[in-house]
């Protein structure tokens, strides 16, 4: 009973923080399950994948209804995140757990540093769209890119998007994260997609990305239903609370606190990796 409540509360905290700071819950759930409850890393990743699918499903539904997410672009790129996730899901079981823990510690430190340097969204440029690449695309490719574009922006550098998507898929499968840390910058900075659309489209893509590898974790017995249920319910509740209270919270203070938590967690994970 107590353990179930602790998992539920931990999930709520991960969901609230993740939602307020624009991160998926995965970056918090894996260290929470491994460092607090002593779960093996792969089991924590399996539970985390379930949580990120669920939170992205609810959010993506809202983004699609409001027509913020770009379905065509999302589907085109998620083909490649799914391929990356399939590959990552298969090699995850072959890699030493300590190596994955070490990589996760690096990811936590990188996220903390990125967050420390990040300006408020309102301070960011509305659309940092670089000019289209000057490579000679066939007219057929131009027509396809036109179908992926939206009002006020034109998608370009699809090749970089494909590479970024494969990398995001592998990272998602190995570490139990949504992969937005890779997809959003690639779509926004390299492909010319406005930040708001890139964030919404990345959210839409998380479902397929995470489910391609979650299936592997599920069939191979690395998703524990007893631990997954309270954690996933908690994350869902937390994400709902976070999205409703975001406008009332001083994000600058919260971000500082979160950076400190991430750095501490990175240190703990590094110690675990080094035995």
């Amino acid at each position: 009973m107590t353990d179930g409540l602790l998992l539920l509360i931990g999930g709520v905290a991960a969901g609230v923080f993740g939602s307020l700071l624009g991160l998926g819950g995965g970056i918090l759930i894996v260290p929470f399950l491994t460092l607090v409850f002593g779960f093996p890393l792969l089991e924590a990743v399996g539970v985390s994948l379930v949580c990120v699918i669920m939170t992205s499903g609810a959010a993506a539904g809202v983004y699609l209804e409001r027509r913020v997410a770009n379905l065509r672009l999302g589907m085109t790129l998620e083909l490649f995140t799914a391929i990356g996730a399939l590959f990552g899901g298969l090699i995850a079981f072959l890699l030493p757990e300590r190596l994955l823990e070490f990589v996760f510690a690096l990811l936590l430190a990188y996220t903390a540093l990125t967050m420390a340097r990040r300006r408020d969204a309102s301070e960011a440029p509305a659309d940092a769209t670089p000019p289209p690449a000057a490579n000679d695309l066939a007219s057929d490719d131009h027509a396809f890119l036109d179908t992926l574009s939206g009002p006020g922006y034109r998608v370009h550098n699809l090749g970089f998007g494909v590479i970024g998507s494969v990398v995001a898929g592998i990272a998602s499968a190995l570490l139990g994260i949504g992969g937005g840390l890779v997809k959003v910058p690639v779509m926004h900075v390299i492909m010319g997609v406005p930040l708001r659309v890139a964030t919404a489209t990345s959210n839409l893509m998380i479902g397929i990305t995470a489910s391609a590898s979650a299936i592997i974790y599920l069939i191979r017995g690395s998703i524990d239903p007893y631990a997954a249920a309270p954690t996933a319910i908690g994350v869902f509740i937390g994400a709902s609370i976070g999205s409703r209270t975001a406008h009332r919270i001083q994000l600058r203070v919260l971000r500082g606190l979160f950076v400190a938590i991430l750095l501490y967690t990175a240190w703990q994970m590094l110690q675990r990796a080094l035995g």
Partner: protein
């Protein structure tokens, strides 16, 4: 263009497709939450600790567990709904794009479903 219509071009039939997909995603997520919540409540009622290590996934045991009101039946069904909802969204997109005659998007959707199917086959093969 409304303030919300920033991601995609104005296109009434595309908007309808996206509305249906949005409903599917939201409905799938809420169905999963309800199933997981029932399973979790049954777990607590039967005194099962979430740290006791759950059983391995066995799809054939789910109907029997559901009928017997065992927590694992609801938990596994909830987790299956979670994992299957994104694939159902792609299937719905495939059908929608096929109706609109967008062959390229139909191929993209079919390839995504093929990758998902390959995940199932690969994981099952490795287990076997």
């Amino acid at each position: 263009m409304t303030s919300a219509d920033v991601g995609v071009p104005a296109d009434p039939s595309g908007a309808r497709l996206e509305q249906s997909i949005a409903r599917l995603l939201t409905g799938g997520t809420y169905a999963a939450i309800v199933l997981l919540a029932i399973g979790f409540a049954l777990m607590i009622a039967s005194g099962v600790s979430p740290l006791s290590g759950g059983p391995r996934f066995d799809i054939t045991a789910i109907p029997g567990d559901l009928l017997a009101l065992r927590p694992t039946g609801f938990l596994w069904l909830g987790l299956l709904v979670v994992v299957a909802t994104p694939a159902a969204r792609v299937l719905a997109s495939l059908i929608g794009y096929a109706r609109r005659g967008e062959q390229r998007m139909v191929i993209v959707a079919a390839l995504i479903l093929a990758v998902i199917a390959l995940s199932v086959v690969a994981a099952t093969g490795l287990e076997g």
